[in-house]
């Protein structure tokens, strides 16, 4: 049996030390410590429900080795929603545009959208579709999710295409 090792991460702005197996994924460490807004879907990197920000970049936490992130900064959808204006705008837009049906893909979608907007994303439906192409949604058909991200880009005065 693998031994548990201490792992210090900054999660949602707070420095935390967890105990985690040497091979644990970031997803498992987060969920084992009650960050339940990070969803576990396929657990092999295909569905994107577990997407979090690692040092400001969207990554799939299920295929991220937790101990490799020691000393780094992780933000989840919930933490971002309480602390980050852009994420709050995305969350509001998801509600207003009806982008949520079962809601399972939503936290990952919002983090992927946050990455897109943070990296200069514009109001271009094709580009938005590419940006969320690593996130699967089985309910909405994506149109309303794309609408929400498009709306935020417009509100932020980004180029409209």
């Amino acid at each position: 049996m693998s031994n548990l090792l201490p792992l210090t991460l900054k999660v949602n702005g707070e420095e935390k030390t967890f105990l985690a197996s040497p091979h644990a994924s970031l997803l498992r460490v987060l969920r084992d410590n009650y960050y339940w807004d990070v969803k576990c879907g396929c657990e092999e990197g295909d569905c994107g429900t577990c997407t979090v920000l690692l040092d400001g970049k969207a990554v799939k936490s299920c295929i991220t080795l937790a101990h490799n992130c020691a000393g780094h900064e992780v933000w989840t959808d919930k933490g971002l929603g309480y602390n980050d204006e852009i994420t709050r705008m995305i969350q509001d837009a998801f509600v207003e545009c009806g982008s949520i049906q079962c809601g399972f893909c939503t936290p990952g979608m919002i983090v992927a959208a946050k990455h897109y907007i943070d990296h200069g994303g514009i109001a271009d439906r094709k580009e938005i579709r590419k940006a969320i192409s690593g996130n699967l949604c089985r309910c909405t058909g994506y149109n309303k999710i794309v609408d929400a991200i498009y709306k935020v880009a417009v509100e932020l005065g980004r180029e409209v295409r």
Binding site: P22, H23, G45, K60, S133
Partner: protein
């Protein structure tokens, strides 16, 4: 039962010392996009995971005197967003943009992609076509391996247990192109990929060419017969027809969940034509056989 250790290597020297010490037990982990899947599936066990994600010296794209050097730890998204590579190595730039999806690209590294040696590795055909060299280190020594000698088979490379890829290096070539056929746009493991790079003289004659294919053999391969069909020639309908015919001799595809061998045999010549025409700056549908 899963049985692992984890050690983070702060720099290249530490990583090489750990590899030297752990040898057979060592398992390098950078972006971990393949490693985590293999660990979860039980394909990898009883290893010491050596974390190299944070080694700055392994990451970055450098251009000097016509040569491009890409650190092994450079993420696919850095490559996909590099204005330098878009201009100087469009084949690799395009492959990075077709690689998995934007989120996975933020973690996956070019070194990891070739070390994993999947026959479908997206960066392999462009690196083969650009005639890249792999710069490999172990404790106390360094060596360079031409890309065409690097892969040995499915998930097999010339890398020894105690070796680390430092970088890949190649001469810039704006006349290079990449094309991928997958089952969907994102997260698609390729059905067939092809890359080409050419140099032409003033008359438009091809003086140097390299063509490579992925997912059509146990390892990513150079298409030597196809290259021979166009070397020293100007592209016209006849040369292109010869090129497409020659591709069959370069590949040995199999049936798998993504496509049949027969389909791959049909598609491979078409995308070889496309990448070659694109490398030469002509539209495949105008210059080629319809």
């Amino acid at each position: 039962m899963k049985n692992f250790e984890f050690i983070k290597a702060p720099d290249v020297k530490a990583a090489l010392a750990l590899l030297d010490k752990e040898k057979d037990h060592a398992y390098l982990v950078a972006g971990s996009t393949n490693a985590m899947v293999d660990i979860r599936a039980g394909k990898v066990n009883d290893r010491t995971l050596i974390g190299i994600r944070d080694i700055d010296a392994l990451s970055g794209i450098k251009f000097s005197r016509g040569k491009i050097t890409i650190g092994a730890g450079t993420t696919i998204s850095e490559i996909a967003n590099s204005a330098l590579l878009a201009k100087k190595a469009p084949a690799l730039f395009q492959a990075a943009n077709d690689f998995a999806d934007p989120t996975t690209r933020n973690s996956a590294t070019i070194g990891g992609n070739i070390a994993n040696a999947s026959p479908a590795a997206d960066t392999a055909p462009p690196l083969l076509a650009l005639k890249a060299e792999v710069i490999i280190a172990k404790k106390g020594s360094k060596r360079r391996v031409p890309m065409e000698d690097f892969f040995l088979g499915v998930n097999k490379t010339v890398l020894e247990k105690d070796e680390l890829i430092l970088a890949v290096e190649f001469s810039a070539n704006p006349h290079s192109a990449f094309y991928k056929v997958g089952l969907r746009n994102a997260m698609a493991i390729s059905v067939v990929t092809a890359a080409a790079s050419v140099r032409k003289d003033r008359d438009g004659k091809i003086t140097d060419v390299a063509i490579a294919l992925g997912s059509v053999a146990p390892k990513p391969v150079r298409a030597y017969n196809a290259e021979k069909a166009v070397l020293g020639k100007k592209l016209d309908d006849k040369v292109i027809a010869d090129l497409m015919k020659a591709v069959a001799k370069d590949i040995s595809p199999i049936d798998d969940v993504r496509a049949s061998a027969e389909y791959r045999k049909d598609v491979a010549p078409v995308i070889v034509k496309r990448v070659l025409c694109k490398s030469c700056g002509i539209c495949a549908n105008e210059g080629g056989t319809k």
